[in-house]
Symmetry: C2
Subunit: 417 residues, 2 copies
């Protein structure tokens, strides 16, 4: 089945808004085994839309249209869809009532403009939007089936996942339930992960392996399709277990969890609290943790300096340069000073010289808790931003390993030994 994604709207066409909806849709469809073969972008312009609908109808079996379902005059999708399909617009009374109810529950009167959102091409298939006023619909134009979805990302995602994808899978003659299992790892490069897992698809036909590298993390994805949810779970379970076994301690989180949420959950489970000292990472470790809701109850304090003497003085010790010894001392002193159960110091000594892929930095991570103190050292290569991102990740990951009783010193692919 040939699928086209057609994105509408002046904001997207003129580049004012980066088209993240397209990437999300194409990727999600691809993971479910649905292949997108063409993408089109046009503005809020009647002639362009009509022409784009006709061209897509001639090219594709299924077309997902995104945007143009709003209440304002420049939202033209329903109108042009009706014209292209050769039918009239017709009031969808149920949706009008739903919208009026939505406003009434918020003690507001529905603006008259919104009535437009209930005017759909006659004979179309209604597609529900439980979280907004732009409902979707499906209609045939030429030999292709067109699915209209709202431009608001949250609404589009929910509608695509829950309503459009099952219809596309049914149309493509593939089973009805798709699930995506995600593993987030740190320390294994994409090509090595590919080698480590190359034979995993053979374990369960219908499970598709994929990777997405967003340095310093790698996302490993298992996309599965089956007749129903139980079928998919049964298909995935042994493959999931095998991925966990092979990537082992390098898996930092799964699905919607993150490295930082895993660290905070482990800390919370132990009734612990945390203090952090950082240098070149400039507050990014504190920031990653404190952005997690509820972190404020566990994170006691953070100190930041690029100057070793200043950083040492801030935690009450003396030192002239960053070193593994200072990482150890700083972690111990900071734990004492803050009263936190755990303290981590992440110190970076950057190479001299101009920025570039050849430079690098020495990382020293001190970890102190009731069980004592340990130091993890590493050398990372690859430009200032890469060293910075790598050091943030290593700091958080070393803490995760210590909290979980895993070996802290396990070689990373990015690490120069």
């Amino acid at each position: 089945m040939r699928i086209e994604i057609l994105c509408t709207g002046d904001e997207i066409l003129t580049g004012k808004t980066i088209n993240t909806n397209y990437a999300w849709m194409a990727q999600r469809l691809g993971e479910a085994g649905l292949e997108v073969v063409w993408g089109t972008t046009v503005g809020d312009d009647r002639a362009s839309l009509l022409s784009a609908f006709h061209q897509a109808a001639a090219r594709a079996d299924a077309v997902i249209v995104n945007g143009g379902l709003g209440p304002t005059v420049d939202d033209l999708s329903q109108e042009v869809a009706a014209e292209a399909a050769g039918v009239a617009l017709k009031l969808h009374a149920d949706w009008l009532e739903r919208m009026e109810g939505w406003y009434a529950r918020r003690n507001r009167v529905m603006p008259p403009n919104n009535r437009k959102q209930a005017m759909l091409p006659a004979g179309c298939e209604f597609i529900d939007n439980p979280i907004g006023t732009a409902c979707g619909f499906a209609v045939d134009i030429g030999r292709a089936r067109f699915y209209f979805t709202p431009g608001v990302p949250r609404e589009m995602k929910k509608m695509l996942e829950e309503q459009v994808m099952p219809r596309l899978l049914a149309r493509a003659g593939t089973p009805g339930v798709a699930r995506l299992k995600r593993f987030h790892s740190f320390g294994i490069g994409e090509s090595r992960a590919d080698q480590m897992l190359h034979d995993i698809e053979a374990m369960a036909p219908g499970v598709k392996l994929g990777f997405q590298a967003h340095y310093p993390q790698l996302e490993t994805k298992l996309a599965a399709r089956g007749a129903d949810a139980a079928d998919v779970e049964a298909l995935l379970a042994p493959v999931e277990a095998e991925v966990r076994r092979r990537l082992g301690n390098f898996i930092v989180a799964e699905d919607t969890a993150s490295l930082e949420s895993v660290v905070l959950d482990a800390l919370r489970a132990q009734g612990g609290s945390l203090a952090v000292a950082e240098s070149f990472t400039g507050g990014a470790i504190a920031g990653r943790l404190l952005n997690v809701p509820g972190a404020e109850a566990l994170f006691r304090r953070g100190v930041v300096s690029r100057d070793a003497a200043q950083l040492a003085a801030t935690v009450g010790v003396a030192a002239a340069a960053f070193s593994p010894d200072l990482a150890q001392q700083a972690a111990l002193a900071l734990r004492e000073q803050s009263g936190a159960s755990h303290a981590v110091a992440v110190l970076v000594t950057l190479d001299d010289g101009a920025d570039g892929v050849q430079i690098g930095g020495e990382i020293a991570i001190g970890l102190a808790d009731a069980g004592g103190v340990e130091v993890r050292q590493a050398r990372l290569l690859g430009g200032r931003d890469w060293v910075r991102l790598g050091a943030v990740e290593m700091g958080l990951d070393s803490l995760r390993r210590r909290l979980k009783g895993l070996p802290v010193d396990e070689q990373l692919d990015f690490e120069k030994r």
Copy 2:
């Protein structure tokens, strides 16, 4: 002139890579008065490319093709361009020599694959790429002129700005030099800025006003075209001066400068140094500053805690809750303790309750320097992330104002009074 942007490549088509190239190109062209009316995305597939080239040729006057100029077998742009234009591929000997020289200077032998990058459609116009091995070219297909550009963002940007845009402007019959003047402001909303500057385009025909809001900053853009650089400067100068006069103290930086680089430059000019205490902003103020190259010489230390008692203890004072008084004390104590010439404390007391647009936070900013101490207080509304971003910006902006001798307490549009 109708312009189409045609992006090629499986990474873009499948959504693995978000298409930021498209947005950048469309926006840059729009700023120069060149209107993009259609966008197409296809993969590394011969049939799709050929069909996309023919369809674009029928729709547009000028087509910018991005990607597919690399040395590997799935890079098909030159080959399919020649086929669509009805000409053969021909070796561009000069470019082959340039590539060989490029490798020789790096003491490497050019891989044989790269020869492919010098095979261009016969009779095409060569377009230089001074920073990569993928040269560009222009060729007519049907009634449209096609401009081929590399997919690597850095190379694409340079080629678009320096080579493709002048050709497009000449083709559109518009003068040859375009310049974009940018003002970054904090504290004025887009709709009010629009009102304040609505008559500014009338001052100089040929100058186009535009806005881009990326909360909490607003970017105000003046796009100008003229016969030559001097002409454009003369056109822009009075308009620039008037924008500066009207937006006044709210302009935090211009062009490629940022609020944080302006703060650091002002500090450097005074021979000063800085220490920062922050709470809910979680290290983001330190991070913004420390990401600027050279900041490490000026930034002495940062301390972070969401707990008032912890934060107070870290700087050596005592307090049980965040307050304007603690902001003042913390700034004074931190300045003393760190030996920095300037210290700023940005404290946030967040409203209780679930996250949402109705919540908000009280901001207290203490600023200490040799001239004494002052406190700026504000209430910001709008969800946790908005309050956090607003507090970071207010902290940095208050420091900028203090360093520049401007009033620190000037009401922001986002501020509830």
